[in-house]
Each structure stands twice: as C-alpha cells, then as structure tokens.
C-alpha cells in the first residue's frame, strides 16, 4: 500500500516540522544559495507538506476510531486553489485573495477558473491528482511587476504578467499558457528534466503539448483543427496581430511566418546554442503529427502515450530527444506505427 511505504520512508529518513514550511519555501527559492541546497530544501518542503497531510489523516482516523479512514483520506485529498495579487510589485506571492471565484478582477477570475479546468483535465483524462499527484494546492499570482511580458513556474507556483500591450496582452488570456505553466510543476515532480540543452527543450515541449491538448479539450477541438495547435494565440497584442502574427508558436508548423517566435521543425535544424523554447518546436511537431495520425481528439489516445512516457521512471532528468522518442514507442502499444512515422518525419529517429 502506498501510504505504508511512504510512512516507512519517513521513518527511515527522519522528518520533523521544526522549520516552518514558509521558511523552507523561501530559502528554496533564494538564488543566493547553491542549486543543490535549494533542491534539497524544496524536497523537504514537499515531503513535510505531505507528512503533515498524513498526520492530519491519522488524527482524524483516531478521532473517529476508524483506522481504515487513513489511506482514504490521503488518497482523496483534493487540490485547493490559492490566488494572490502582486499589485504590479516584484515580491511573491503577493496579496492573498479571499474569494477568487467571486472576484471582479478579470485576471483573478480567469486564472482561478482556467486553473481549475487544468486540474480537472489532469484528473479526468489522465487520472492525476494535481501537480504532485497527491492533491498539492495550486498557487497562482497575477499582476506580477509592470508591463511584464512573461508567465512562469518558480518551483512552487504559477505567476502571470499583464504584458506590455505592444507585443503581448495578459498572459492568462490563453488557456494553453496556464496549462503550460502547471505542467512545469508536473515535470518537476516526475522526471525533473534539466532546463538546458535537449532535456530543457523537451521540458518546454512537454509543457506546450499538455497546454495545447488541454486547450483542445476545453474547446472541444478535434486534432484536425489547426487552431488547437497554436501556443499563445490569445496573448498577441493588437499591433502584432495587425502585422499578421496569430500566435507565439505553432506546434503543427513551427517555422511559420504567423508565429511571433518561429522554431525549427526538424532535428536537422537543432541549434545547441539556442534557448530551450526554440528547439522545443521539433518535439512539438512530432506530437502534433502523431496526434493527427491517430485521429479524432488528441486527449483520447495520443496524450496518454505522452503522459505514460513523462511519468515513466525510465525518463531521466538528462534525457535526449532520442531517449524520449524511444520511450514513447516503448509505451505506445498499438499506436507505435504512427508514432514511429512522426519521429522519423522530424528526424529524431531514422
């Protein structure tokens, strides 16, 4: 039983709550500390949070004299959302919002509603309970800094800027962006793909893939609908739209002129010096080709192959495109044929 195993693990390694969770989280995000130390602090933060939940389940089980309640309570823990308003300042998480579902602030209500749908997508389609698969709370901050042209995952939470209005609008305007950022948390909890080189591009591509398929599921778009393969279609500001830019990236056609940030579509054009968001176009295209070859809706079969590979213990943090491609083929079962074709088309596999 998973609960027993985890409790035994705590006993072996020891754990106490002498350091408050907020202190662990703060130091885990402190850039002045060594990355290895920060990773350990983050691990302790996550494990301490989990142990607190187990302890609370045990307490309730004792109160009701029903020991069988313990695993049930742990298993059904549901993620709660926490929303914060940075009020255009730099410090995170910002001002807590007590009832985000009832907020009249478009940023708050949109992030709250769409994040809830991402969690629902992961649960209903992939059987995953939140970022850590154990009901971890979903924390988001909006109105970060001034004219901020970015959205990111900081290791603990999602953060959204409002855009500068020249190139980008508010970054929460595209549902796939919210799915993309939350998926970085999932990857952190699974393979922990290193954020550099091929593993970094793979990390980025996985976020684009799950973000796009979430958007397709949300809108009921089949894999044949080209709109469903655009990343950031809702965040392009009016001047760029007028200039013909309809998205940030296009998974089906990465080098297209309508992309504000064109990418390569073949491993032959992989650039080892480029940003991880550039080379991710190669594996993005492989997934889009595969999903279209499988047909119907991407969330029915194709995404489940990607999810199986992303959560497979054989996917290491330093995986290459080829490693990932071979792993997807290993878990694809009866879909291996069209998948092999897709990887061959983008020249990751012969």
């Amino acid at each position: 039983m998973r609960l027993t195993t985890r409790l035994e693990h705590r006993k072996e390694h020891g754990c106490c709550f002498i350091v408050p969770l907020n202190v662990l989280r703060t130091y885990a995000g402190d850039p002045r500390l060594d990355p290895k130390v920060r990773a350990k602090l983050m691990e302790t933060f996550v494990q301490t949070g989990n142990l607190k939940r187990v302890r609370e389940a045990g307490r309730l089980a004792c109160l009701t004299s029903r020991r069988s309640l313990m695993p049930t309570l742990v298993a059904v823990q549901q993620a709660q959302q926490q929303l914060f308003d940075c009020q255009h300042r730099q410090s995170l998480p910002g001002q807590a919002i007590s009832n985000p579902g009832a907020s009249t602030d478009k940023a708050v209500s949109t992030v709250y509603n769409v994040t809830g749908k991402v969690a629902e997508f992961y649960l209903k389609i992939l059987g995953r309970n939140s970022i850590d698969n154990q009901g971890q709370d979903l924390v988001s901050s909006v109105h970060y800094r001034v004219d901020f042209d970015n959205a990111f995952w900081n290791g603990n939470q999602m953060v959204y800027g409002d855009g500068d209005g020249r190139l980008f609008t508010e970054f929460y305007n595209s549902p796939d962006v919210i799915g993309h950022e939350l998926t970085h948390g999932v990857t952190q909890n699974e393979s922990g793909l290193l954020y550099e080189g091929e593993s970094g591009a793979l990390n980025e591509s996985i976020s684009d893939v799950f973000g796009a398929v979430f958007n397709q599921w949300l809108n009921g778009w089949p894999s044949s609908n080209a709109q469903g393969w655009l990343i950031g279609a809702g965040i392009i500001a009016a001047p760029e739209r007028a200039a013909g830019k309809t998205c940030l990236r296009d998974m089906l056609d990465p080098p297209a002129d309508h992309c504000l940030s064109p990418q390569p579509a073949s491993y032959a054009n992989f650039d080892p010096t480029a940003d991880v968001h550039y080379n991710s176009g190669i594996t993005n295209k492989a997934f889009a080709l595969f999903a279209q070859a499988v047909g119907a809706n991407s969330w029915q079969d194709a995404i489940k192959v990607w999810y199986a590979a992303c959560t497979d213990k054989r996917l290491t943090s330093s995986a290459t495109f080829k490693d990932f491609a071979e792993l997807t083929l290993n878990v694809a079962q009866n879909l291996a044929g069209p998948l092999q074709t897709a990887w061959t088309q983008v020249q990751v596999l012969p």
């Binding site: 850039p31 970015n150 190139l167 950022e181 940030l248 504000l260 940030s261 940003d275 991880v276």
Partner: protein, 86 residues
C-alpha cells in the same frame, strides 16, 4: 560609459536587448545598477521554468564589466531597458 542589457528566456523565449548611457540613467536606476555590480556574491539562475535571465555589461574606456542577473534579482528600473525587437 554604456550600459547594455540583454534578456533571454521566459515563456516567449525571444532575445530582448537595450542600452543606455550610464550618465542618462535616473538616480534610482543608477543606485540599482551600482547595487548589482557591487554585490559580493553574484546570484545564479532563478528556480523553476520560463524564467528570464539578464546579462548586464558596462562598456567604456577600453574596459568591459559583465554580470549575469536572474529574474528574481533584476529591478524593474533596469529590466525595462531590454525590449524585444520583432
């Protein structure tokens, strides 16, 4: 003396650049710049994914001084110098 600011990374993944004469910086910008270059320990990268990473160069009198600054440590006053040129 010229200040050159370069920004990489972020969800967008496009290079953003900008430069100013140090003499034209506001007092707040100048103070922030001095604090970054005087910091005894240069910070690494911000944790997580889709984070910005900045490179600041001071160029003049045949000398170039350069530091890397993660998003978390970059003040708004200097961050706004870097812009994407589509």
């Amino acid at each position: 003396m010229r200040l050159k600011v370069e920004r990489r990374g972020g969800f967008v993944g496009k290079l953003a650049t900008g430069e100013r004469d140090v003499g034209e910086l506001s007092p707040v910008q100048r103070e922030a710049l001095d604090a970054l270059f005087d910091a005894p320990q240069k910070p690494g990268r911000s944790p997580g994914a889709d984070r910005f990473q900045y490179k600041l160069q001071l160029v003049g009198d045949g000398v170039t001084k350069e530091i890397e600054v993660p998003e978390d440590s970059m003040p708004d006053e200097l961050a706004s110098i870097a812009r994407i040129n589509p």
